[in-house]
């Protein structure tokens, strides 16, 4: 038997293997690509990357659309974060509350939700002795539950009474909203939803939309193409206690 037919047979096998390999790779690529693409879409910012100052999360609240009897945003926040009524409104945690105000001059009444205003220059962060109160680069003001010593100085400093001290033992907490007796907490702007990066909005705004009111517009105030930026460009709204020049992440319309 000559060597030639053996060599041609080997070449044929190699070509077949290469072909099968390429087909397999193409099939695998076709099968995995959508999944990879989905993961890419789901994680706007990988978990190991810090929040970026390229974004500034904020909210525009149109009090003209906010109904005085409606507290859907408050109930949604309580459900989302496991906030329960315990010993009365004086000591219960209230991350967001409904307030009705009347203008001294015109007598016009306005109803609005009030929560942490996510200041650019937050007094709570300035006064916190341990640095537990902090502001993320994307504008969300949070409390590090591991280093909060419960001194309540941030509550003394906050111009909006936006913070709550945990007055009792808690159980059945949500894994994404850790809380603890003896520490201070406040609205996180549903940072666990934001960080998912799937375009989810805070629970309060979602509930408001669910009621068909759409009074709470959440978005990236640094992105000129975002709905909130376009609305703010049209009418910048007001900041509560603007005289303090804290540059708030929450803006209101209808309480000028």
């Amino acid at each position: 038997m000559s060597d030639e037919p053996r060599a041609s047979e080997q070449k044929g096998r190699q070509a077949r293997r290469q072909f099968l390999g390429r087909v397999g790779a193409a099939a695998a690529a076709l099968a995995l690509a959508p999944g990879v693409r989905l993961i890419d879409l789901a994680i706007a910012r990988p978990a190991n990357e810090p929040a970026s100052s390229a974004q500034r999360w904020g909210m525009l609240i149109d009090t003209g659309k906010c109904a005085s009897g409606c507290d859907a945003c408050v109930r949604a926040c309580n459900d989302e974060h496991g906030l329960e009524a315990r010993h009365g409104p004086a000591t219960d945690a209230q991350w967001i509350r409904k307030v009705t105000v009347r203008d001294r001059q015109s007598g016009a009444s306005t109803s609005l939700p009030l929560m942490c205003q996510h200041c650019k220059h937050p007094p709570c962060v300035d006064v916190c002795p341990t640095g537990a109160s902090f502001r993320r680069a994307d504008g969300v003001v949070l409390v590090d539950k591991h280093t909060c010593i419960g001194c309540r100085y941030c509550m003394m400093a906050c111009p909006y009474k936006a913070r709550s001290f945990i007055h009792e033992q808690l159980d059945n907490q949500k894994s994404y909203a850790p809380r603890g007796k003896g520490t201070v907490e406040s609205c996180t702007l549903c940072v666990h939803r934001i960080d998912e990066g799937r375009g989810r909005i805070p629970a309060c705004a979602e509930a408001c939309n669910g009621e068909g009111r759409r009074a709470m517009l959440f978005g990236d105030m640094s992105d000129p193409q975002s709905d909130i930026s376009k609305e703010l460009a049209r009418n910048s709204g007001v900041q509560l206690r603007a005289d303090l020049k804290l540059d708030l992440g929450i803006r209101y319309r209808g309480i000028d």
Partner: protein, 414 residues
Amino acid sequence: MKSIPHRILEGRSTGYYGLIAGLAALVLAGLWAAYYMESNGHHVTGMNNQIVWGMPHVFAVFLIVAASGALNVASVASVFNRPLYNPMARLSGLLAIALLMGGLAVLVLDLGRPDRLIVAMTHYNFKSIFAWNIFLYTGFVAIVIVYLWMQMERRMNGFVKPAGYLAFVWRLVLTTGTGSIFGFLVARQAYDAALMGPLFVTMSFSFGTAAFILFLLSLCRWAGCPLGHEVMERLRRLQGIFVIVVLYMVVVFHLSKLYITEQHGIESFILLDGGAVTLIFWLGQIVIGSLIPLAILYSPYTRHSRPWTAVGAVLISVGGLAQIYVIIIAAQAYPLEIFPGKIVVESSFFDGAIVGYQPGMPEVMLGVGGVALALLIVTLAMKILPFVPETLADVRDSPETESVDAPPATESAA
């Protein structure tokens, strides 16, 4: 002036052990109160999410302010070269450290997480005046300990003066820092005033001197240390001046607030229609804490009487607590101005409304425990180290006696 030797307190009498036992019981009661608050959560106190600082802070701030003022006597001796005060400098330093320890203990035990004290010692935000105060307090204790060492160790006596200067400057910064904890809170109508720092400095002079007078009168009575007329006369005069200075600062503070229209609401709340707060201000701070003590300290019928001087010092301390109560509680009870130009008609969290405060028993027990801890430290320390001067009797050849009023013929000894 000839240097006066010091001795340790013998401390073998039934009275001494009784005092130790009584103070220890109060300290234990304070510790139990802290445990009760921490294990149940702060809902068992009178504090809430509006009044976040209550009676423990009133006691703690009073003790801390009085602590730096208790160092006055030592400062007058070392910094202002008044040898008459030299024999009392050690007592002054000891009382200062003890009062500060008592105040800090209350402050720490009222934290939401006192078990995280180590976090407060290892994580610092240097923009926070609170963080600065942690250094100011621990530094004060360290500096006064060194100051006491310089006084007690004969070969180190040459350094008493520089140590005294350092302690004096430090205590001024410390009290300014304590006042600034409140003064830097721009959002609160009752605070937001640079005057808070200097106001606290003058308060410390007054409360600290009152605490020292009470301490000295008690010690000399129980330990049998002769106490001359000159010493008491000097302290009485100092005390009177300090009460007047605090009154002056309080008047300027409120007048400056009254000049600003937007502050009329909080001023009206404190001065006119604040219920308990107004009563505590006028009756506690002004009448009991200032006017009656001034009458006692300057009236020809009472000014040379030691029991009356002691009564005056007690009233000044009570008035001091009242003053700090008004500063801390009124500012929180009065609503924040979140919506200028608008009236809040409905809120689930008392926006626009004045919130009442009823101190809980554990809060008061913790505060009293802090006072007891300070006194216990003093009582025990005097038995261990030579703090007690052999005598504080008048020295006739001292040139300083010339400027002092002649003692009355019949002087009652406390």
